[in-house]
Amino acid sequence: MRWSALPLNRKLAAVALVLGAGALFSQPHRGPVVKLDTRELAMIVEQQVDHVTPAELAAWIVEGRADYRLLDLRSESEFASYHIPTAENVPVSALPDFPLQPGEKVILYSEGGIHAAQAWMLVRAQGHAAVYTVLGGLDGWKEEVLFPVIPADATAQQRARFEQVAAIATFFGGQPRTAEVAATAAPGSPALPTVTTPAAPELPSMAPPVAGRTAPAAAPKKKKKEGC
């Protein structure tokens, strides 16, 4: 039977069948739908093994370690005005499509930490296990690494330790402060250093000066092995 002689409903049925057959090869993507192990995630959050401290991160950068991806989740302009050396700018909306290698260590930070914590969940949901946030975000980085404060009544031991912290602060272009200076300083943080990135591998290597402080240069606290 000729096509033009077919009644309309037969023609429509034929078109639907052809389109349906074509759909066999289609790949309409509904976005990644994932299942999360909520109990595991809750445990990680509770045990606080989902973050690195600014001091730890600073030590890694000083050492020139390159086994991590540091992602700055703030806007392009904020990133341009200052960012932690070695960081890459990735707005949260671009995170789902950001190419990360499986098994790669990912460290996230935002201004305060809320966005980073939310992004942490996103990256975890994408199946990456080694995801961490910078404790306190960029604010924490400023306080702890760039502009550390030594208490006025610090003991000799504290002062000796602070020297190492101060060395790191200077290394990153910051400025160690005494408690009095910090107290009299205008509200808001001191002027941020200009960024001299890209950084880590090109930074002069320097003995990790915070060695005696915590256990800084160590890898982020490992989460417990599954099944334990």
Binding site: N9, L12, A13, A16, L17, L19, G20, A21, G22, A23, L24, F25, S26, Q27, P28, H29, R30, G31, V33
Partner: protein, 196 residues
Amino acid sequence: MMTPLYKYGFFGDELSLVVAFVLGIGFGFCLERAGFGSARKLAAQFYLYDMSVFKVMFTAIVTAMLGVTYLGWIGWLDLSQVYLVPTFLGPQILGGLVLGVGFVVGGYCPGTSAAAVATGRVDGMVYALGIFAGTFAYAEVYPSIKAFVNSNEMGQVTLPEVLGLPWGVIVFVVVVVAVVGFWGAGKVERWIGSRS
């Protein structure tokens, strides 16, 4: 351009109401043109001598399904942004049966009753009043049936997920079922028609 337009911020809340109005008028027009403003036509479906409801609804399903599939495939529609009604299997089966009984008894479903009201049919108006009364009664008894209404939750699931089959296979199968169903519906109509 990426769709859904509303989710991608092409228009705001006010304009979305205008768009909904236009789409609603269009939907009602199509229902009326299909003859669904008449309770006789709709009730005929249940006596199997006029399968228009089945054919029209299944045609709409197949058309929308193919449209969504191809738009998603060529990248004009972001399927992750399309809202899916969550599945509550038990409550929805019961709800479907209640709606079905109401459909047979009243001769309309909610959408077609609106079309009937718009064309001035009195039975449609009575039916619409029934919808309001039913909605009110449901809200009143809701606290006592809340546990059941929220049971069997499966989330926003799709057939490809539930059956573990590729999207395209489901699409193809539904199209084949529809075409075979249309052919069968025609047979049933002729068979029932020849008996009466």
